[in-house]
Symmetry: D2
Subunit: 358 residues, 4 copies
């Protein structure tokens, strides 16, 4: 709740966009895991601003320092504190929004809820908080690697440009070959073109990220209020700008018949599998060993470099035009965040599932 994510594996985060830094504490991390700090930094670099032509030109070093919980290269089972210093704030960029509410931003709701707000750079509501998610996710990935779980995500739609096939059609090794993080090179080029076009107008555009979890152990999920897909969905919906989540056949499956959508059980590699996987790897809220796949809808981000009507803190109509350096499309940088939330969820439920039996 609030600033803690997870039940057994728990990430608690802090930090604002323009304060001293962003960080967190990972508690409940299993002991004895090899902590590869280069990998953690690498994951963080994947969400870093300024990494390509289509992301914001802000240059932020975003170097993570681990403050505890690791001894001679291994996790100790004690909490892992970490900190990423903010280094490249232009707080003056925000002087003009101190006394007004940016449309579709959290300015109004934070002010109403808390009675005051840190207006610089969005304060706590800034997507800069996802730094801490990426560090937590990288740690989770290091643990999951030991049990063979594989997690990846990719941009499957930008604006109206959408991949035509489901995830089984694409090679995940192609995701990082382009700036959009889309495994289809041709579509990626179109998406990049669209983003550039939108950006040139000072506008923004949304899209969809597809996530895949492979080799998930059977049995993860805690019915009835901790179903695995409900936890995944809640995790994804908590990412900035997300407006929807679906898994398996999702919204498209509602017009099917049960006889079409049911996944028939069959013998599979000496165990029990399913002939199809419309369920998306989860039945009754518990993983069944098939691939888990899901889609996450991102709205176009609210910060546009165009004039908009709004009101001041006291309700007087005015005009706002944002300054600063912003992403026209957040999806490329949100891909690692989706992976991070999935990794933390799976590790958390893996640990929870260990308590099912004495």
């Amino acid at each position: 709740m609030s600033n803690t994510f997870g039940n057994i594996f728990r990430l608690t985060t802090f930090g604002e966009s323009h304060g001293p830094g962003v960080g967190g504490v990972v508690d409940g991390f299993p002991a004895g895991i090899d902590i590869d700090q280069d990998f953690i930094q690498h994951e963080l670099d994947r969400r870093r601003p300024g990494q390509s032509r289509i992301t914001t030109p802000r240059k932020e070093a975003d170097k993570v320092e681990l403050l505890s919980g690791v001894f001679e290269g291994k996790s100790t089972g004690c909490p892992i504190g970490f900190l990423v210093r903010n280094t490249n704030q232009h707080s003056n960029d925000y002087d003009n929004i101190r006394n007004l509410y940016r449309p579709s931003h959290a300015d109004f709701t934070y002010t109403q809820k808390y009675g005051l707000r840190d207006h610089t750079g969005g304060g706590r509501s800034s997507a800069r908080e996802t730094i801490a998610r990426c560090v937590g996710g990288a740690l989770a990935k290091l643990a999951l690697k030991q049990i063979g779980v594989e997690i990846y995500a990719y941009t499957s739609q930008v604006g109206n440009i959408a991949l035509e096939h489901d995830y089984t059609h694409y090679d995940p090794t192609q995701i990082e070959t382009n700036d959009v993080r889309c495994p289809d090179a041709e579509k990626a080029a179109s998406m990049e073109g669209l983003i550039s076009e939108v950006k040139a107008k000072g506008d923004t555009i949304g899209g969809i990220i597809t996530g895949v979890i492979r080799h998930c152990p059977i049995g993860l999920g805690e019915p009835v209020y901790g179903k695995l897909h409900a936890a995944l969905g809640g995790a994804m919906l908590g990412i900035n700008a997300v407006k929807g989540f679906e898994y398996g056949r999702g919204f498209a499956g509602v017009s099917q018949r049960g006889s079409e959508q049911n996944d028939v059980f069959i013998p599979q590699n000496g165990a029990i599998g399913t002939r199809t996987n419309h369920s998306g790897g989860i039945q009754g809220g518990i993983s069944n060993g098939q691939d888990i796949y899901f889609r996450v809808a991102f709205k176009p981000v609210a910060t546009i470099l165009m004039e908009q009507e709004t009101v001041t803190l006291d309700g007087t109509p005015t005009i706002i035009k944002a300054r600063g350096r912003h992403d026209a499309c957040v999806l490329p940088r949100a891909v690692p965040v989706v992976e991070a939330m999935a990794a933390m969820t799976i590790l958390d439920y893996y640990l929870l599932n260990k308590t099912t039996h004495l």
Copy 2:
């Protein structure tokens, strides 16, 4: 987690389809609320089987008994225990599934996770558990009524038959005028026809339920991991058969530009409102006072009265044909469940929000 829903308002449920009964405990319910037991029973009756031609013909009385926490008609602030006895089980209907796994049911995953399962009527994975949700939701509604929050849901799509307009176009008082719980009488008739057709074949069909929360106080939501829509989405995804959740413009909004989707702030009734409400009443994870609206995707339920391939517990291929009395489409009976989960979420976050200030 597991069988407890909520943070401050907490519903903990128990019970299987064919055991002695289904019940729960509501803890953290505010003191001094008038407890209208007829209203609670009425809400429960809305999900009851056998209430119309298009639902399962099982006749279950489903009478709720409140066991504690109410004194002389008012809530005392102490936990409210309740119990609904099971009265009409035909456990023999399930003898034939004892040794096999029904396709797309939880049979396989429960057996793998727990090492054994109660096969009668689906055991804990049965939608009969939603009885407890409806009781919890009815209590939450009684509290919310005192602060003016209004919650309703309706069937907006069955199979391919979908309402054409958004919720603002429909009159909620029309929802209960037909068996499908759809506010458009003509569409309702078509949906009912489709359900009957599917049912005649022993098949099932999915659909979409739209939920609306009106007059929600500003300020509900606990960023960054307890955003209001993430909590709502997690709650909805935990309902049996749900495969997707979206709010505001949802998936459709991903192809819009930021300049189209942003909700401009304007003076409104002496306060601050928004000209449009593409955000769906929530910004930065916190309610902004506008209507909250969302859509929930239900797959066609897995129990079909047709022959299907499957395997036995030891993996041998076999054929299953379900017996028993089942819904061809769960949406009409799921409408009160969606409302219940929304009501409990809003009350929980209302109470949480009281701790924002000293």
Copy 3:
């Protein structure tokens, strides 16, 4: 928190002294445990009123009904609901206290906190709630038996009459041989005499219960805020009438030197043990495999059959004289409650500890 005890193993209870009944839900109970219902009832009978001359003469059957979570004699991993109906309330006994506050009871604080109270029989603050603790504790004991953990408690002091030796001196099989539940027959007789004497005057008397946990696995405890002794202490302090908790050398050890109190490590049965056990089986908040022992202080219960000054709800001075059937000393009946809280704590931490490693 509030009416839920535990982290993984979680007991949620409900019920008032004079309502329909007392019950609860045990969630997170491991799957596949043999559920011996006679044992559960037997544990409940140990706290039952009217079981001996020195307890209250109220006759309450206190029959427990398990409502879920057990299938063909084994726990399913799903929540175990249970209910004990109230059968022998004399609510009229309480008419005279409706409008006043009984000294040192919860009447005043409940009324101030909640704005109203169920005055009959103490309502929720009645020790009758410990019925649910005994059921939860009996379930926990059934699980712990499978891993060899042994838990017992006994009355070690009543008023000024105290056992002279520590727990290692006494044979636990002697505890149930007398009504006081004290393993020293001679002291037990003295204690029983004192209780009878106090009872004859309509007064009450306190005492101390000693608890012992043997064969606790090494490694239980979650530093730094979930230390095993802190969890045990919090659990014991939550029992009605408890005013103090100490473990190991406790309060008496504060005047020792470190060189006297330290427990030197030695080879022990092929493993590592300690020569002495002043620590009480816990070091750094984690069990070390030695016996865990602790003491719990109970005040004399507040209900005395003598005239006392008090005030009415509006603050007017008046005189109260309790009627009804009450215990002059709660310790004999509190022994199983202490065991229950210890058993639930140990099982909970045993399950938690399973998440320490992948």
Copy 4:
């Protein structure tokens, strides 16, 4: 649980004695509170080593940096991250204990539980972790000051030297006038003499700290598993070296009669109070507006500068003699820690209590 303390106000801590630093995150802190950073540093200085002749001569600057959650001098309602860098570690002091277990330390249990341990300076089990508690406690005190709650603690016993009277007899303004933090100057001198004597021998000594909470609002406490005194007791028992907790008449009261110990209600300053306060300000687990007072037993700390028997990691007997700079008696420096835990508990329950009514 584990490294998070509290329910609404939640402190999550991290850090080892000889790692980069100790820090934490305070979540759920009320918005709009004036954050006096000098006061926070002052509270931290009260637990600092090297502050007087009777504490360890280690000189640690222990400067706290607030990393988030404060904007223009006020709390924003967002999480407050903080960090205290370690600056004066002599890790070489610990080379000799790498391969053995110090008697009555957490070395053995940490190694058994986690499979490895950070042996330098006690790692996570070091009392250096209480730095984070003092920062959290200082923040809690800043909030409590606004509602008039006053909290203080003092050393009431060292070894056999004990104050003769209860807290009502002593002037809290005298506590900080001596190095022992005892409000009776004469006793303080004796205690200081005893500590010096013990220290000269390389030995250690325990004692008792008394805590007092005044002007606590009526109604704090969440029965039945979140009783206020159970929360306080659990909090105190979690402090390093604590072996016992009692409140009100505590252990001494067990030999009283109910007629002696009951607190009669009387009209008091236009409201309702009690003539005596044997209950210690809490009835039925809920504060009644009278002073809350309690006592906390500290064992002599385990690190002594004398030869002791022990075993190596593989169980071979050996001799250990600790080096380094240690406290002969932790009580003077533990006084602010007791206050901190009390302050965080009271603020947490104050916030929780706000959810009792709509």
